[in-house]
Amino acid sequence: MGLYQVTVAITTGIYIILTMGLNTITGYTGQVSLGHAAFFGVGAYASAILSVRYGFPFWVALPLAIISTALVGAVLGAVSTRLREDSLAITTIGINFVMVSVFKYSSFFGGALGIGGIRYPSLFGHTLTKPEYLLVVAACVALGVWLDRRLVRSWLGLALRAVGQDEAAAESLGVDSPRFKIVAFMIGTAYAGAAGSLYAHFMTFISPQDFGFPMSISIISMAVFGGLGTLRGAILGSCVLGLAPEVFRPLVEYRNLMYGALLLLMMRFQPQGLIGDGSVVWERIRSLFASGRVPGRAERGGV
């Protein structure tokens, strides 16, 4: 693997972590967030400041960045319990713009110039090389995937999906939706915080526009394109849309246009996403695998 490929792989890994987080909030719990990049930014800035100003090593800055992002996420979660669907979506857009302005106009966050000189992580006195950093990112992706699987199988995950699919019914079965929405935001933004920290230490320089609204649109496009509410969709979506501008170089300029158009097309023709539950492609794949088994499709959910 050349250094270019390594760079692309690291970026894709960061996208996967971001999308997994958004999938928890919007996919599982049904809370539309169009400001996920704001939390990506909180994680990146937290990690950068801890590292540059206070000299914390990456390994300490990363968990601290995750925790601080989740705390900010809890605040948004608390706000979200008072808002429904469209007004929540608009509020999250607003939060994204507010966060970018805070980064941009506050000298504490380095102003419009951002923060530079963020150190590459080092281990036992050895500064990691890019391929080694890719391993760190891959480990974080793996941990994120594992945690997501744990979540989906847990009572917590079941309750989040219940809130996402019918809030009143969930409440009637003892699930306090406000509390669970806050938890969903905390988990989802924690992922974004991890991605931000990884991004900051990889780029070694961050500035406010990295975390603007277009970035939020990219993340939600990935989740929707792959199939909202499924982990496989989040991963496939971030891989495809993350790699597309690299593979088709001329597309880079039109990246946002492409994401926007894709979002529209998916919503119109395949709202389940490329391989989400009930999508054409996924049903095909499932029937391919089910044909060999005797009880077939009905068996699946019972297990």
Partner: protein
């Protein structure tokens, strides 16, 4: 106090499970309920009837904690639950179904029921991370599905079931709360005659299992055959309460339903 006929049911030995004390509710100046008082005893099937807009569903929503009343209070097992909110009320043992079925459409029928099975966990932190639907709990959910005759559909996505079966699933899901009181909001709405009969049978079985049932229903045949006691609401006021037979011949009730005799 009540304006209507009160007939003592000679059931003093049975404890009062639910008490609604002079509950009123206003929505933007519209009086949905006015000073409604009633009590439901353990083991009863208690019917709430009345014309459209009489306040039946409002009463249910207040009992379930969906919203608080403008005045009055609700007591469950002697405990004030007026402002407890929906989720905590449910965890205390008041389960409900909805007038318009509310399933978790993209979950399997079994998972729908399992959401109800988690009621002991939702209030805690440690239990939440445990895997849901392990052997014992899944067995309980399957038993409930068998009770409502849906065991064969356990793996189907709930949204793909016909309405009549989603209704049954809602009942199983509500029973997963191990409720002391089950509120059924027009369980027969939109069902064919045979389906209604099945549902009546199901409610009987539930009651025989020791669950007190409170039911809002338009189908008078269903109400008469099921309920031990009936309260009649009209324009948010309770106009009568008593055993089924007495209610159907009560002139005020007939007037509310059919209009005044010329």
């Amino acid at each position: 106090m009540d304006h209507g006929v009160e007939i003592d049911l000679d059931r003093g030995c049975r404890a009062i499970l639910l008490e609604v004390r002079s509950v009123s509710k206003q929505f933007h100046g519209v009086r949905a309920l006015q000073d409604v008082t009633l009590s439901v005893r353990q083991g009863q099937v208690f019917g709430v009837v009345g014309p459209n807009g009489a306040g039946k569903t409002t009463l249910f929503n207040i009992v379930c904690g969906v919203y608080p009343p403008s005045g009055g209070s609700v007591l469950f097992q002697g405990r004030d639950i007026t402002r407890l909110g929906s989720a905590r009320t449910a965890r205390l043992g008041i389960a409900r179904t909805f007038q318009i079925v509310r399933s978790f459409p993209r979950m399997t029928v079994l998972d729908n029921v399992l959401v109800g099975c988690g009621h002991r966990v939702y209030g805690t932190l440690s239990g939440l991370v445990g895997t849901y639907g392990r052997e014992a709990v899944r067995g309980k959910a399957m038993d409930l599905l068998e009770l409502v005759g849906l065991e064969h559909a356990a793996g189907t996505l709930a949204g793909k079931l016909p309405i009549a079966l989603q209704r049954r699933m809602e009942v199983a899901r509500a029973l997963a709360l191990d409720p002391l009181l089950l509120l059924l909001d027009e369980p027969c709405a939109g069902l064919a005659f045979g389906e209604s009969q099945d549902l009546v049978e199901l409610v009987r079985r539930v009651r025989d299992g020791g669950v007190t049932v409170m039911i809002v229903e338009h189908n008078m045949g269903v109400v008469m055959s099921l309920c031990d006691e009936i309260a009649v609401l009209d324009f948010g006021v309770k106009i009568a309460q008593g055993p089924s037979a007495a209610i159907s011949s009560n002139p005020r009730v007939i007037e509310a339903y059919l209009g005044k005799e010329a």
